[in-house]
């Protein structure tokens, strides 16, 4: 059996914290090998070891059968290892060609030979069916296209082994299908691929074999064709995972949120919410289903006071909170898990402890007579970290930036749920998380409901909306098109509604308005 890469018994520590222990990964020539693990399981650490960014404490790396020491990324490049990063490393206002040759510019008499490079890149692009225009500027092309530029970059530098780090995280379903085709094409041309992911469906679709790691330990390698998602999930999480969320029937009581004829403009002055009506009652979870960009962001921002309301009304617990300040609205009993955890949810340069006080820092016991009591803050933080299983290097003293995405999200959810709000707005609460974390978060949302609180869930994932909500409001072009119950509908019908194709019989036909 010919292995192009063998990582044998790799161990990596960070000052006492074991990020990788005894992990073995063997990549065959011409295969797509998935590296599966929860957020923070040590996948990125392992790949950074392979890419020369970290030096392992123990273990051996062999490339094409020869033992090697990869001391920095340049060595990895020379060995034909290329990495397609999750967050693209591209210069926005450079062209595709300029980005690809950056750092390895072909020169002729001291002058960069752009034309020659552009031709080579165009040829490469055609060979692998990437369909990239070598002369386009990065800022003008889609996210999927930008990813292909990253792929081209590694190919241009002669990579034989490509590492994809969470490649589908920011892609649309259509782009994901195309990416899978591209990967298969790369394999046909003799490349080998490692794909880092926690999405089980993709693994089943694309990979030949899977290596699973859990909490830094190597669990094993299985052949994809001989396994299934349940088994993979169990190996990854270490226990049985239910994909279908268990919950009893809802017991809705009085109204918490009442949105009446809401009109909201975006920053350009275009109407994004058009006379929207919505109510959420205690003891129910209302899911908002819709395609990204149909007014979800504007709706949440209007309710939470982050955006001006042009007309209409928002009532929280019977109080008019239209155009009130965020804090006034929060104090009427609102909790908000924001869709962008880095932008709104966390101060990344604060510790996790300080972040946990973000909504309550000015209240007793955290603040007395304008003086902070950081002891109380860390007490509360420790409690939430414990209760919500937030994992980090140094507990509540870790910088929020240093946590993995799933743990950051758990900290935010802990902070918001701990305040026990009457209405919890959860915007894309599970984006980018692994199955274990998703299951945990769904359970927490349902727990809130069962405690008699209201939950408003916004999600782009149909599965999630169908599984968790008691009522589903379909948003399209700034209006609620229809409200349906999950058991009376299916994904197809929802999909059509989300595309705006079916209207409520009572509603007018769009052209008549």
């Amino acid at each position: 059996m010919e292995y192009v890469i063998e990582m044998l018994g790799i161990r990596k520590e960070f000052g006492g914290f074991v990020a990788n222990n005894n992990i073995t990964l063997q990549l065959k020539k011409g295969e797509i090998h998935a590296l599966l693990g929860e957020n923070g399981a040590g996948k990125s650490t392992l790949m950074n070891v392979l890419f020369g960014l970290y030096q392992p404490e123990a273990g051996e790396i062999k490339v094409r059968g020869k033992s090697v020491k990869i001391t920095d990324p340049n060595v990895a490049n020379d060995l034909g290892i290329g990495m397609v990063h999750q967050h693209f490393m591209l210069v926005e206002n450079f062209t595709v060609t300029e980005n690809i040759i950056l750092g390895a510019e072909p020169t002729k008499g001291g002058i960069v030979n752009i034309k020659k490079a552009a031709n080579e890149i165009q040829a490469l692009s055609e060979k692998y069916g990437l369909d990239v225009d070598a002369n386009a500027k990065i800022q003008d092309i889609s996210v999927g296209m930008q990813q292909r530029v990253e792929i081209l970059k590694t190919l241009y530098r002669g990579a034989e082994i490509l590492i994809f780090d969470e490649p589908t995280a920011s892609l649309t379903p259509q782009e994901i299908t195309e990416l899978i085709q591209i990967m298969k094409r790369l394999i046909q041309e003799g490349k080998s691929i490692i794909i880092i992911t926690h999405k089980l469906k993709e693994i089943m679709d694309v990979s030949d074999r899977v290596t699973i790691i859990r909490k830094g330990e190597g669990i094993g390698t299985v052949v994809t064709a001989e396994t299934n998602t349940d088994q993979l999930a169990e190996m990854m999480v270490g226990r049985q995972v239910t994909f279908k969320t268990e919950k009893g029937p809802a017991n809705p009581t009085e109204e918490v949120l009442n949105v009446q004829d809401l009109v909201v403009l975006d920053y350009r002055g275009v109407e994004r919410i058009k006379k929207l009506n919505l109510t959420v009652r205690k003891g129910e979870i209302v899911g908002i289903a819709g395609i990204d960009g149909n007014g979800q962001t504007e709706l949440i921002e209007a309710i939470t006071g982050l955006r001006k309301i042009k007309s209409g009304k928002v009532l929280m617990n019977g109080q008019d909170v239209t155009n009130k300040k965020p804090r006034q609205i929060t104090e009427t009993g609102l909790g908000h898990i924001p869709s962008d955890r880095h932008k709104h949810g966390l101060v990344l340069d604060f510790t996790i402890g300080h972040n946990i006080a973000l909504q309550t820092y000015y209240q007793e016991p955290f603040s007395k007579m304008s003086i902070m009591n950081y002891k109380e803050v860390s007490k509360k933080a420790k409690q939430i970290i414990e209760e919500f299983d937030v994992r980090s290097g140094h507990g509540e003293a870790s910088l929020a930036r240093s946590l993995s995405g799933g743990n950051q999200q758990k900290a935010i959810i802990g902070r918001e749920i701990d305040r026990n709000p009457d209405l919890l707005i959860a915007a894309l609460p599970t984006r980018g998380l692994d199955v274990g974390a998703i299951e945990f978060i769904h359970k927490r949302l349902i727990e809130q409901r069962d405690k008699g609180k209201a939950v408003l869930l916004i999600s782009f994932e149909l599965d999630e909306v169908m599984n968790v909500s008691d009522r589903i409001a379909v948003i399209h072009d700034g209006e609620i098109l229809d409200i349906v119950e999950p058991k009376e509908t299916n994904e197809q019908e929802l999909g059509l509604l989300m595309a705006g194709e079916k209207r409520k019989s009572a509603g007018a036909v769009k052209g008549d308005e």
Partner: protein
């Protein structure tokens, strides 16, 4: 090597490299480097007089450094410390000579408060411009520096009836101390250093102890998250700028009430405010770090005065040497990287 050792080694090695390169410059220009450095040393620590003068020089640097560091910590770049300091200087001097008949324990604090308010107001303008109209504080404060310089010059002309400096401040507003002077062979050392050190504590207290400090830092790091949590971003930006300006204004008071005891028409900027940027960066924007940065700046500045006299090195060369030392300290990052590399290699073996 632990992190702690590296943290101590970095500035030490930086200063040594700076001194070596400075020595090369002196040698190449035909001067004796050893004599030069002995003169520099004597200019800083030579006797109680020079020590007094060195501490006097450090005082306004601490306050200018605090002003810049406070703004940095709250996400703002205050380049206007120079202008705020000039306004503080003028205000303190005016209150110092024009308000008569007060006892010292009222007059001196009053003059200090006047300086703090003047600096705070000057920075407040830039804060409002940023918070309300989204004018970048760098541009606003640079322009306000020029306005401050000329407004202060115009005021002095009026106050001095066409002269080029005001009368001396009254004894009741002065920071000078016969006790400190006699202890240091009649240097101009004054009580201002106590004010400056007190402000170091104030900055630490505001940022790390108060609820407002938590808000100011949150707004500085991520104003989106601050807004989400219900903080008023605008109010905090204005407040951060104002507090920063207060420190700068007090820096001006040190000159008005301590060193010079008057304010005179200036042909150009004092430079203290701009050096404050370097002081803050050298001190990693922490209150204690600012003391370190200001000490380095103030000492070198004061010691340099002695190099032409004692070692016959022209002031131009002296300026180059001082700049080189500061340059190497500021590029401590490079030395840190080298040390860590050296360290990991050793561990690898």
């Amino acid at each position: 090597m632990s992190n702690r050792v590296i943290n101590i080694l970095v500035p030490v090695i930086s200063v040594i490299i700076g001194l070596i390169v400075g020595a090369i410059v002196m040698a190449v220009s035909g001067y004796n480097a050893v004599d030069g450095y002995i003169a520099l040393w004597n200019g800083i620590f030579g006797d109680s007089y020079t020590i007094g003068e060195t501490i006097r020089q450090i005082t306004p640097y601490i306050l200018a450094g605090l002003a810049v560091a406070f703004a940095f910590r709250t996400g703002l770049f205050n380049i206007g410390v120079e202008g705020q300091l000039i306004m503080g200087w003028a205000a303190a001097a005016y209150v110092g000579y024009a308000v008569e008949g007060l006892p010292k324990f009222i007059h001196l604090p009053l003059a200090l408060i006047a300086a703090a308010l003047a600096g705070a107001f000057w920075a407040f303008i830039a804060g409002v411009l940023k918070a309300r109209f989204n004018v970048h504080e760098v541009i606003a404060t640079i322009m306000l520096n020029y306005i401050a310089l000329h407004v202060s010059n115009a005021l002095i002309k009026v106050w001095a009836d066409g002269g080029d400096k005001t009368q001396r401040i009254l004894e009741t507003a002065s920071l000078r101390s016969p006790f400190l002077e006699s202890m240091t062979q009649y240097s101009r050392l004054h009580w201002g250093i106590i004010v400056a050190l007190l402000m170091v504590v104030v900055m630490w207290f505001i940022l790390d102890k108060t609820t407002r400090g938590y808000e100011l830092k949150a707004v500085g790091f991520n104003h989106h998250a601050a807004e989400y949590s219900g903080m008023s971003v605008r109010r905090n930006i204005i407040l951060a700028m104002t507090i920063s300006g207060m420190f700068a204004g007090l820096g001006g008071a040190m000159e008005a009430l301590g060193t010079f005891e008057y304010v005179g028409i200036k042909g150009g900027f004092t430079g203290i405010g701009f050096d404050g940027i370097a002081v803050a960066l050298l001190g990693a924007n922490t209150p204690l770090g600012v003391i370190f940065g200001a000490t380095l700046f103030g000492s070198l500045q004061n010691g340099a005065l002695n190099m032409p006299n004692e070692a016959g090195i022209p002031t131009e060369i002296v300026s180059i040497i001082i700049a080189l030392i500061i340059f190497f300290v500021a590029s401590g990052y490079v030395i840190r990287v080298l040390l860590e590399k050296f360290n990991s290699k050793k561990e690898g073996k």
